[in-house]
Symmetry: C2
């Protein structure tokens, strides 16, 4: 059913070495609600609490856990726990879904001794099947008893669904002269489109940041990371990105302005970590064989550049041409044209793998298609497009569209 046995050719060699982060404890368990022989339930606890920021799906049919996260974020209270299950999204499950979630939240809050609205929840998997809370609740005693600071790789694995590899990233950065840590894990492979947080991703730091500062950093950096990727243009009902700051490092608590220069380095590393995770999601795109970077310049503004870049990234004809290693750049022209944003047909420039193929509204005289074809035979494809209007720029990342995508999705549930 899932294809975890067949690892994406674009996968990184391994998970990074995760350092422990003071104030973060993790444990996993196997509910077997869908996947057999692997852990599919993750519990993260913050014994001293953690400030929390989040970006959630813009879907109008968001899941029960997305609604809960949104409500909890609005309270401004510190988070005490995060509970994630894989295999059932608890989306479009009506009141029964709400009740199942509430029963697990109550049990976990009671066990660790916190308010219910300090427990965050995510569910990922099939939409529309009511979640059997007993399968989760039966593991609650064990999962709380086994919380440990070292369980990062197990955590990264427990949240996967159709993913073919576990996704994680770890960084350290100086804040006010003290080293702070940032760890992140993510899952996602299909139903990946931007303009929101995408799929599930969790970032943890021991920096001492207020909710407002953390939220501002998250919103700024998500735009150039998770919100700049697409696999298949489809948007999940469960997309959730949460960032937790335990404050255990003792630094950052005096910062009130998210644009304080003291945060410059932290923001840069935080963004780089989010982008790393986002790229791993693209590299696990269902059926992907190529990692594609699309940079659009010369657009009316950054927004227009992103619309054009996503029009290219979501075009089935561009994605299949790249899968076929065919330098059919006419399809890029088509995708620029359909984006609806200003573009000067007679100034449009297309550069494939560093080689300029079009200029002045037509193919470059003497352009050597073999050089393009050679680039397209590689795993990392670079497309650069200048639309000749103004200075707007954007970069997005995607993967190709192959038989693998059809295989995985024409029979996902059975």
């Amino acid at each position: 059913m899932t294809k975890i046995d067949k690892i994406s050719p674009l996968a990184p060699k391994s998970l990074p070495a995760f350092p422990e982060i003071d104030g973060v404890l993790l444990s996993t368990a196997a509910t077997e609600m869908k996947y057999k022989g692997r852990d599919d339930l993750l519990c993260v606890a913050f014994p001293q609490g953690a400030t929390v920021a989040g970006v959630l799906t813009q879907s109008r049919t968001f899941s029960a856990p997305v609604g809960l996260c949104r409500d909890n974020l609005a309270t401004g209270k510190k988070a005490r726990a995060l509970l994630v299950n894989a295999g059932n999204a608890n989306a479009f499950t009506g009141k029964a879904g709400d009740q199942a979630m509430a029963s697990s939240v109550k049990m976990l809050a009671d066990k660790i001794g916190c308010d219910r609205d300090q427990v965050y929840v995510s569910s990922t998997g099939v939409i529309g099947e009511v979640l059997d809370a007993d399968l989760i609740n039966g593991h609650m005693t064990n999962i709380v008893g086994e919380l440990s600071a070292q369980n990062w790789p197990a955590a990264a694995k427990a949240i996967l669904t159709t993913d073919t590899f576990a996704k994680g990233a770890a960084r350290t950065v100086k804040l006010n002269g003290t080293v702070v840590k940032i760890n992140g894990i993510a899952k996602g492979s299909g139903m990946i489109a931007p303009d929101m947080a995408t799929m599930l991703a969790y970032v943890f730091t021991d920096a001492d940041l207020s909710q407002d500062v953390l939220q501002a950093i998250l919103v700024d950096t998500v735009d150039k990371s998770f919100n700049a990727i697409t696999v298949d243009s489809d948007t999940s009902t469960s997309d959730t990105l949460l960032a937790f700051a335990t404050g255990a490092s003792g630094v950052g608590g005096d910062i009130t302005d998210p644009h304080d220069p003291a945060l410059t380095e932290f923001r840069a590393v935080f963004e780089e970590l989010l982008r790393d995770l986002a790229h791993q999601v693209v590299r696990d795109g269902e059926g992907a064989t190529k990692f594609i970077t699309i940079t659009v310049t010369g657009a009316e503004d950054a927004r227009a550049a992103k619309v054009i870049a996503l029009s290219i990234a979501n075009s089935p004809l561009v994605k299949t041409a790249i899968a076929g290693e065919d330098a059919n750049w006419g399809r890029i022209v088509m995708a620029v044209g359909k984006a609806g944003e200003a573009a000067d047909r007679d100034k449009l420039k297309i550069i494939i793998g560093g080689q300029k193929v079009t200029e002045l509204g037509m193919a470059v005289q003497g352009y050597d298609e073999d050089i393009c074809t050679k680039h397209l035979k590689g795993q990392n494809i670079d497309l650069a497009i200048d639309v000749g209007i103004a200075q707007g720029e954007a970069t997005v990342w995607t993967c190709d569209l192959t038989h693998g995508y059809i295989e995985i999705n024409a029979d996902y549930r059975s």
Copy 2:
């Protein structure tokens, strides 16, 4: 290269019997610019002239012929000829492309004795390769010499590219008590998305309609036909729909208001013919094995309903689930959610093949998935979705996404 040998399983049995239409002469020729052993050039002449209306691609990178049609339409002059070649789109070919087109236009205008801006042109095929006008112009004497009123089937075939069958429709309807005829031909298979005229389609009638009346009818009816279909969400640089009225029937010339009740029956039949042609394009969608009708009701307005319907129709996950005959309606929920239009998650109703599968924000109690699965095993799939907000309605048509689409498009040019 093209797969004309393998006819779509959704193809109609045959082309209709086309009656002659007074004032319309047709002929075809084989330039062999790309396709061997078949005609790929169509000339249509209107010896007494024809009023002409058109809807053209909204692409910002439109082809040279699209620009020419737009300019000609603006003159308000009667059309005297239409020239269509298949195999090269003459799109993104800069000044060289403009010159190639101009040389053919001049030659044809001289041969039939009309102004150059009375000659309409369409080109379809690969984008970005300069058109060799000599290959067309060398056939100009013959093609003009062989014009005949009977060549409809040959005309429908000459304009095809990756299509697996020729597309045509013919109707008669009474106008002011006199029978008038409407014939139409179309081509299109991939790079099919709405919100514009789609692909190439030409409609001919002997009704005597002014350009203003014909244009108004065309714009009204295209919205529920060609602008309500999608194969792959990709929009062609060459999309062209032209309607020609020779007036040879002698009826209709007194009508100045496109909403004149005398036109009611004509409009209905005209729209039905356009929809027939549009459905044939979907039935030849690259790799298609299912013809899918998606009706959305209960939306804020008709525009919102169409946005939601197209979000479902363009979702790769919905299209692959249908290809896999999998009643995974959670993906429909997802596609409604990502459309960005108002939808009440807890009132959303989904009906597959007449069976209600969701209600009140969750699966219907006791719903029988086997009935859905049986419906999905057929060739004609009906999805009805009520989003529970207001009265807006729309219907769109699409096909499934299969290995065939990847096969055709991962190596189209080679």
